[in-house]
């Protein structure tokens, strides 16, 4: 309990001793302090600090050195670095001051882990200054009498401390005031410099850790002067057109130093300076005449100076001053050339003279005019022609001949030497040889080999080749001793036509031309290829040359690339002069894709794809197939014809059976009295009994004419009954009229073959209407069988039949017919049969006749319908009277009277009003 109170009292004392004012001094009474106080330490050195406790604190607070802890910026220093020297002193040691920071504090760890600060110091770590190096000084002239010396040096490494630099200078017997740099640490400027005395100059650097001094620089300040450049520079024209006088003032006294100079000059607009030889200006002066200048040229001058002995520094270049030399007469005549146009008339020329304006250094002034003189060399008596021209071209109309043209340029001072051009009648002299071009950066070098004769000059013409415009000629003259020039202003990727003419003393050589590119590129487009002709295994391709603007270089070759859809590409290289190529060994009937590539030295460009399909057959193959086939066909036809001709009787019998002409039929005049006209006899002869295999004969015994309508159903009733045995054999008229085709009638028949035979073959049938039950047959009618549907005819026949005798009967018939149509559609045979049997004898005759006469209004279909109707009828009859024997003779037994029978098929019924075409 005591101990606890003791510690509380101790803490209270510590707080009081730290915070309360001291009774004697009025300051804080600390329990200890650190030695050294706020040290400045060299970076990397070791350092030891001591914390010394006051004795008074020991007695009252029970604190000892063993309780001291050290901290660096609130970071505890490891206790291994502590050392308790005695009960009041504790030390801490740092082997490397780079680990130190501010503040370093000494603290007491009292009982109860209460930490109290005793003292703290600020630690400054840095480096001593290095020896300043590379001291150099320059004396700058500021005015006529004012000089300042600026010295610079290398201050060395950063010291992390406040370091003071001093520039010092002294004479052996006098030390001058120091120069303290402001804001910098590497330069200082000293005013009041005295020349001609060796002055020792050095730099001192000092900080808390040390002091360093540079090597001294001993120099007479006059030897390190950079004087002001010459002032008030002026340029004046001299007497000579090739000289200018330069004047200036020196601002440095001769008593200080004598000067030498540098003079530089350039042509205005040209950035390249020229210098007057230094030995010419190595002595003190205030003017200089520059010689060797071009007349009438603007020059820019500048001058600088330095100590005559060359010790010291050059001044800056003075401000630039300009001057213009005076004019002089032109130094040379203008280069002249001509273009001769003889297209209008062969006897006279249009000569376009052209010359180049003199360059400024040649013109030596302003060219006022050109004097052109033309002399006809072929005629000595002809006078000189003179022209004064202000432009650089002149056009003359001259007769064909040889002329000497002279051009003189004139300025205000004088005239140039004459330029002479000989215009000969023809260019018959030797041309240059081995004309060639070589690109050199942005210039095109043109070279040639000189002819054997002496050449005065060469004229080089060039023009840009264009497909859309004429060549605009540019030209240049080269001296006769050169064998190559550079053409300037040549555009890349453009084709130029270059021609070189040698000019001899007595004439002109013929021109030698070459095409050239400054720079080539790949073509701007590829050729468009298409086919001219396509065969089975070959195709002729054609294309147009690229225009010169599209070529961008010399076309070295064309490349044709072609392939099938799934095949490999085939490449063919073609000479660039060609515009056509034949692809061979192609596959027939195959789609090919072809494209074409044009190549220059610098690349290629491919044109658009073009597709074509080779033909299936080659030339003549179709003819080789078709002609033999046709021949074979013709041969077969011929053989067939011959065969048919040989077998014409047999064929005729099958194909064209003898069909009696109904108009010539005896039926028309048929009467029992003239049976001889009936041609059944002949038929009988042609088709004797027993050979009639496909002819049916139906004998129908006609009943009483008046009771026919009632009784004629009876035989059909019989037929019905017999149908039980012949059912399925119905065919013929009924089938044909009910069905729309014979085939359908066949389908109704059980005996298809028979029906088919009867329907497909033309038959001749004989209908014999015998009298019913021993009555006299009403009519014997024979006709050919036809497959023509009979419905219309029959309907018409019914109409006519009805109208012939009794309207009532016909109406009755129609009623019955209508009812049967509605209820007995499955019995076509009987219906038709009823229609027939409803008619009385006369009606029946009329029916047949009307049927034919009704069809006679359709003459083209007459025969067929007649045949069909007859066949149908015969079929019906045959079917319905199966087993009965048909005899031709019965025809003769029942002839109709002539009066009862119409004499022809003319539509008599129409006249009777019973038939109207429907």
């Amino acid at each position: 309990m005591f101990s606890r109170w003791n510690w509380v009292a101790c803490g209270f004392y510590l707080v009081l001793s730290i915070c309360s004012p001291d009774a004697s001094g009025g300051l804080v009474q600390s329990c200890g302090h650190i030695i050294p106080e706020s040290p400045v330490l060299a970076l990397g050195s070791n350092f030891t600090a001591l914390c010394i406790l006051n004795e008074s604190c020991l007695d009252f607070g029970n604190i000892y050195a063993s309780q001291i802890i050290w901290k660096i910026k609130n970071r505890l220093v490891p206790k291994e670095q502590y050392r308790e020297i005695n009960r009041t002193v504790s030390s801490v040691t740092f082997n490397d001051t780079s680990s130190l920071a501010t503040p370093l504090t000494c603290n007491i760890l009292a009982d109860g882990q209460i930490e109290q600060n005793i003292y703290g110091i600020t630690v400054t770590v840095g480096l001593p200054p290095e020896k300043p190096k590379n001291l150099s000084c320059v004396v700058h002239q500021k005015s006529r009498l004012t000089y300042v010396m600026t010295c610079t040096w290398n201050p060395g490494r950063h010291t992390f401390l406040d370091t003071e630099f001093k520039l010092r200078h002294s004479w052996p017997e006098e030390i001058f005031p120091d120069c303290i740099p402001k804001d910098v640490n590497n330069s200082c400027t000293i005013s009041d410099i005295q020349f001609f005395v060796n002055t020792e100059i050095w730099v001192e650097a000092a900080n808390a850790l040390g002091k360093a001094e540079s090597d001294p620089l001993v120099v007479d300040p006059v030897d390190i002067v950079k004087p002001l450049s010459p002032q008030n520079v002026s340029v004046s024209s001299g007497v000579l057109p090739t000289g200018l006088k330069l004047s200036w003032e020196n601002w440095i006294s001769d008593t200080v130093m004598t000067l030498k100079f540098n003079i530089r000059y350039r042509i205005a607009g040209d950035m390249n300076w020229m210098e007057v030889p230094s030995e010419d200006t190595a002595s003190p002066r205030t003017s200089f005449s520059v010689q060797g200048l071009r007349p009438y040229t603007k020059y820019v001058f500048s001058i600088r100076c330095m100590k005559e002995d060359g010790v010291g520094y050059w001044s800056d270049w003075s401000e630039e001053k300009t001057g213009i030399t005076t004019e002089d007469q032109p130094s040379k005549g203008p280069p002249i050339w001509r273009i001769i146009d003889a297209s209008h008339s062969p006897a006279s020329w249009t000569v376009h003279l052209m010359w180049k304006a003199l360059k400024p250094f040649e013109a030596n002034g302003v060219i006022l005019q050109y004097e052109v003189t033309v002399r006809d060399k072929s005629s000595l008596s002809s006078p000189l022609k003179k022209y004064n021209v202000t432009s650089t071209n002149h056009t003359l109309q001259l007769p064909n001949g040889t002329y000497e043209v002279t051009v003189i340029a004139r300025n205000s001072v004088g005239a140039s030497p004459p330029s002479v051009l000989l215009i000969p009648a023809s260019n018959s002299k030797a041309p240059v040889k081995n004309l060639r071009t070589v690109p050199k950066h942005d210039k095109l070098w043109v070279g040639w080999t000189a002819p054997n004769s002496y050449v005065l000059k060469y004229v080089i013409e060039w023009c840009l080749v264009s497909s859309s415009s004429d060549c605009i000629i540019e030209w240049q003259i080269a001296l006769g001793d050169v064998q190559g020039i550079d053409l300037k202003g040549i555009k890349p990727f453009k084709c130029y036509l270059i021609t070189v003419y040698p000019l001899y003393a007595d004439g002109q050589g013929s021109g030698e031309s070459v095409k050239a590119y400054l720079k080539q590129d790949r073509p701007s487009k590829g050729p468009t290829v298409q086919t001219k002709k396509v065969g089975k295994a070959e195709a002729v391709l054609t294309w147009n040359h690229l225009t010169v603007e599209e070529q961008n270089g010399f076309i070295r070759n064309y490349t044709i690339l072609y392939k099938t859809i799934d095949g490999n590409e085939t490449v063919v290289t073609v000479d660039p002069s060609k515009t056509e190529y034949t692809l061979s060994s192609l596959t027939s009937d195959t789609l090919y894709t072809v494209r074409m590539m044009a190549s220059t030295d610098n690349g290629s460009r491919t044109g658009p794809d073009f597709t074509f399909t080779t033909q299936k057959f080659g030339k003549g193959e179709i003819e080789a197939i078709v002609v033999p086939v046709c021949l074979a066909f013709l041969l077969i036809v011929l053989l067939g014809v011959l065969f048919c001709f040989n077998k014409r009787d047999l064929i005729k019998k099958h194909i064209w059976p003898i069909v009696p002409d109904p108009s010539k039929s005896n039926i028309a005049q048929w009467s029992p009295q003239v049976p001889a006209k009936h041609n059944f006899n002949s038929k009988d002869q042609m088709y004797p009994e027993g050979s009639f295999t496909d002819v049916s004969v139906v004998e129908i015994e006609a009943d009483d004419k008046k009771s026919f309508s009632e009784q004629d159903l009876k035989p059909f009733d019989l037929l019905k009954k017999e149908k039980s045995t012949s059912e399925g054999h119905s065919s013929g008229i009924g089938g044909s009229s009910c069905m729309s085709s014979p085939r359908q009638s066949v389908s109704d028949s059980d005996e298809g073959e028979t029906t088919q035979n009867t329907s497909s073959t033309v038959q001749y049938s004989t209908v014999v209407l015998n009298g019913y039950r021993d009555q006299t047959p009403v009519q014997v009618f024979s006709r050919s069988e036809s497959t023509q549907p009979l419905l219309d005819s029959e309907e018409r026949s019914e109409d006519h039949a009805g109208g012939a005798d009794s309207t009532a009967q016909r109406q009755q018939y129609f009623r019955q017919n209508g009812g049967q149509d509605e209820t007995n559609t499955d019995r076509p045979c009987f219906e038709r049969t009823k229609q027939i049997t409803h008619a009385n004898e006369g009606d029946l005759v009329g029916f047949v006749q009307l049927q034919i006469s009704g069809q006679s209004s359709q003459p083209l279909g007459l025969g067929m319908e007649k045949n069909t109707q007859e066949a149908a009828l015969s079929n019906v009859l045959q079917t319905c009277t199966e087993g009965q024997t048909v005899r031709p003779e019965t025809v003769e037994e029942n002839p109709l009277s002539v009066d009862e029978m119409p004499k022809s098929y003319l539509p008599q019924t129409v006249r009777q009003g019973g038939y109207m075409p429907q």
């Binding site: 004479w171 052996p172 017997e173 009041d192 005295q194 020349f195 001609f196 005395v197 006294s253 008593t255």
Partner: protein, 195 residues
């Protein structure tokens, strides 16, 4: 003399002579400029006649060409030491009279003073090369100037500057004479005769 015979000593001597000649030339030019500024600033007449300044040897001397090199150096040294004292006194009086009102004249005076000091140093170096002892400054120095009135100070200043300009001319000639090769050094026995 042995030192003077060595090549380095000869070079040093030539360099000192050359530098001294140019320094004397510049000093004369500066003094002439300073005279103009001084006359104008002090309100004096440029043509005013001024008595010889006490303590300064006269530049004009008879039989100048018969003087030995050492004699020339010693006379020059005595004169420039006197000028150094007089110019320092003038500069002090100038500051007392004008304060900082005319700093240009003061700077010019200070510059001339420096040149005089430098030239005196050159002369001492040349005497060392001649292996001659350098006389003590107190012995040859001018006596302390009496207290003068302001006008007398101005006139004395004018006289000092005029005499300095004269001496500058003479010094150039003396040094050129010294700078000449052997014949000049042939007068060395004369040096022994000098006190």
């Amino acid at each position: 003399m042995a030192a003077a015979d060595s090549p380095s000593a000869a070079l040093r001597r030539r360099d000192l002579c050359s530098r001294g000649i140019r320094l004397a030339g510049k000093m004369r030019a500066d003094v002439v400029d300073l005279l103009d500024a001084y006359v104008e600033q002090q309100g004096l007449d440029a043509s005013a006649s001024v008595a010889a300044v006490e303590g300064v040897p006269l530049a004009a001397v008879e039989r100048w060409d018969e003087q030995t090199g050492t004699q020339r150096l010693l006379e020059n040294l005595a004169a420039y030491r006197a000028f150094r004292t007089l110019l320092a006194q003038m500069l002090e009086e100038q500051r007392e009279q004008l304060g900082e009102a005319d700093a240009g004249l003061g700077r010019a005076l200070a510059a001339v003073l420096l040149q005089v000091s430098a030239f005196a140093y050159h002369l001492e170096e040349l005497l060392r090369l001649e292996s001659r002892g350098i006389p003590g400054e107190e012995e040859d120095g001018p006596p302390p100037p009496p207290r003068l009135s302001l006008f007398e100070q101005k006139l004395r200043g004018l006289g000092v500057l005029r005499e300095l300009a004269q001496w500058a001319v003479r010094s150039v000639r003396d040094l050129r004479q010294l700078a000449k090769p052997s014949p000049a050094t042939g007068t060395a026995p004369g040096l022994a005769e000098s006190p």
